[in-house]
């Protein structure tokens, strides 16, 4: 039942089935297991049981549905449709749930809310100093409930809570764009998760947790020297407040051109199509789909229709078969 819930006509149905069948034929004989399946292992070499496995009567048994992966002695099951499992250094997109003392709580599709401490992020004016009680009171000037934020996974604390950090200009609040959620197994960990697509004037962030941000491109500017003028503490806070208020007005005045907004929607719809089809989401593939939709001169809303969905499936099947032939 999972997969595109579209009203397909007969030809579209056949085409989609053919494309998906083609894709299935490419997949190597993946040794997929379900819950409580015994995983065959060679006991003489010694076995390390990883995630998704347990031991029953001396044999290794899967505890989730997924694909068996082996790395030397380690045997683990990579679960497909599961919630996000954080790893240190992952770049994630999250939404602020709660402003708590000295910290924000973020919803990141994990089994608990993540914690972003006030002390583990750069202040908006870029000054390095101790966070005072005044800063704590002004936390809502930085992030409010409902804001979308980009951050990096810092690690687990002793009490088991997940901590984030945002110690660079590229992290922080995301504005003027849209966030969409896809299953996390479709986003692969890569070197680069921030993408500035110059040709469309948009920024794309593929969060490892399956939250994807598509927004207007913003220039990350370095904090200027003049801001660090020697002022008394009180004055600094006052000016900061003023500046925040001023920048808010400024932001409201900043206008996103229609073309950029259309590009944002096109890119977001491309990601939506890929996630309904269950294809893994990469920048190259997204750009390819956006270009396909532009070359077909199809409307943005038509991208979510059945015809485009079938087309994407066919293109992907073609692409993967070409890739295999090259090998």
């Amino acid at each position: 039942m999972r997969g595109p819930q579209l009203s397909l006509n007969q030809t579209q149905k056949l085409r989609l089935e053919a494309a998906l069948e083609k894709l299935e034929s490419f997949s190597s004989k993946a040794n997929s297991v379900t819950v409580a399946d015994t995983i065959p292992v060679n006991y003489e070499d010694g076995v390390l049981k990883g995630h998704g496995t347990s031991e029953i009567d001396g044999s290794v048994v899967a505890t989730v549905c997924g694909v068996v992966e082996r790395v030397n002695k380690l045997v683990y099951v990579r679960a497909l449709r599961a919630r996000y499992k954080p790893e240190i250094g992952d770049i994630i997109v999250g939404r602020v749930n709660e402003v708590a003392p000295k910290r924000w709580r973020l919803e990141i599709n994990f089994s608990q809310d993540a914690v972003l401490m006030l002390s583990s992020m750069n202040l908006p004016d870029g000054i390095q100093r101790r966070r005072t009680a005044v800063d704590e009171l002004n936390m809502r000037c930085i992030f409010e409930e409902g804001d979308v934020i980009c951050a990096e996974v810092r690690g687990f604390q002793h009490d088991g809570s997940l901590h984030l950090q945002a110690r660079s200009q590229k992290y922080g609040k995301l504005e003027r764009g849209q966030m969409l959620t896809v299953p996390p197994y479709l986003v692969k960990r890569r070197k680069q998760h921030f993408h500035h697509l110059d040709q469309y004037g948009i920024d794309l962030i593929l969060g490892c947790n399956g939250f994807i941000w598509v927004g207007e491109h913003v220039n990350t500017k370095d904090p200027t020297e003049e801001e660090q003028a020697s002022k008394s503490e009180q004055e600094q806070v006052a000016t900061k407040l003023n500046r925040n208020a001023a920048s808010l007005e400024e932001q409201e005045r900043t206008y996103t051109p229609l073309e950029t907004r259309q590009n944002i929607c096109r890119m977001a719809n491309a990601a939506r199509v890929l996630s309904t089809l269950g294809f893994s989401i990469t920048v190259e593939l997204l750009i390819e789909i956006v270009n396909l939709s532009i070359s077909l001169k199809s409307d943005i809303r038509e991208m979510l229709g059945s015809e485009f969905c079938v087309l994407v499936a066919e293109v992907e099947a073609e692409r993967r078969s070409a890739k295999i032939k090259k090998k």
Binding site: M1, R2, L23, E24, S32, V35, A82, G160, F279
Partner: protein, 241 residues
């Protein structure tokens, strides 16, 4: 009333040891972490699993394991006579509890501390054996959500009418007032996690009836495995490298 004809056929034409046709599908609810539809003849149940997620009520948070919650509801249109069902009546509270305890036995809750797992099951069509259908649907939905479990729980009911053990009672047989044994097992570990009977049976007949129900559970387990295997293969092949 005659529930088994002299030819050895039941009211709906089944043999005493025959199960109704079963059908299962995963991924019925798009926004849930895991979901499934399970059908046993005319009984149809939908299950959705949310979580592991942040605990909603902080006072219920457990520091060493996950909190499992379950809600069972019966749709107004699920039975022959359309009834308004108040939320939280005795029957549904009891079944919610039964499902929760059965599922908690197989979920590896210690792997997800300080989180909560919500299981929602709703009966869309009731024709006897809703309890076992709900458990089977919940198992599928949990497996779909990628929640680690020690084994799949499957459940099946059996009864004893006209001095014959009958597998998988439908509504008419269920309302005959005879004994109705609901069994839930962990097929791999070969353990029983649920055993319910609200009547009296001699011990030797009870053994036969329970044996029959256990066989039914194993048959369901095989089917559920196939469905899950098929689903995993499909997801992996579509994702590509």
């Amino acid at each position: 009333m005659e529930y088994v004809s002299p030819e050895g056929l039941r009211l709906d034409g089944r043999r005493p040891m025959e199960m109704r046709q079963i059908r299962a599908e995963v991924g019925a609810v798009s926004k849930a972490d895991g979901s499934a539809v399970f059908e046993m003849g005319n009984t149809k149940v939908i299950a959705a699993v949310y979580g592991p997620r942040e605990v909603q009520n902080r006072s219920q948070q457990l520091n060493d394991q996950a909190l499992v919650r379950c809600e069972y509801t019966m749709s107004n249109f699920s039975t022959g006579d359309r009834m308004r069902r108040p939320k939280g009546d005795r029957r549904s509270t009891e079944i919610s509890l039964v499902i929760r305890q059965t599922m908690e036995a197989c979920i590896l809750t210690h792997l997800m501390p300080r989180s909560q797992i919500d299981i929602f099951v709703q009966v869309l069509q009731a024709d006897g054996g809703t309890r076992s259908a709900c458990i089977n649907a919940a198992t599928l939905a949990l497996a779909d959500a990628g929640i680690p479990m020690s084994d799949l729980v499957t459940s099946c009911s059996a009864g004893y009418l006209n001095s014959t053990p009958l597998l998988d009672l439908n509504y008419v047989e269920d309302s005959a007032g005879g004994p109705d044994v609901t069994v839930g097992i962990l097929p791999k570990l070969d353990k029983v996690t649920l055993l319910q009977m609200d009547a009296k049976l001699p011990i030797d007949t009870f053994e036969n009836v329970m044996q029959l129900a256990t066989e039914g559970c194993k048959a369901i387990a095989n089917y559920i495995r196939e469905v899950l295997q098929e689903n995993t293969k499909q997801l992996e092949s579509r994702r590509g490298t």
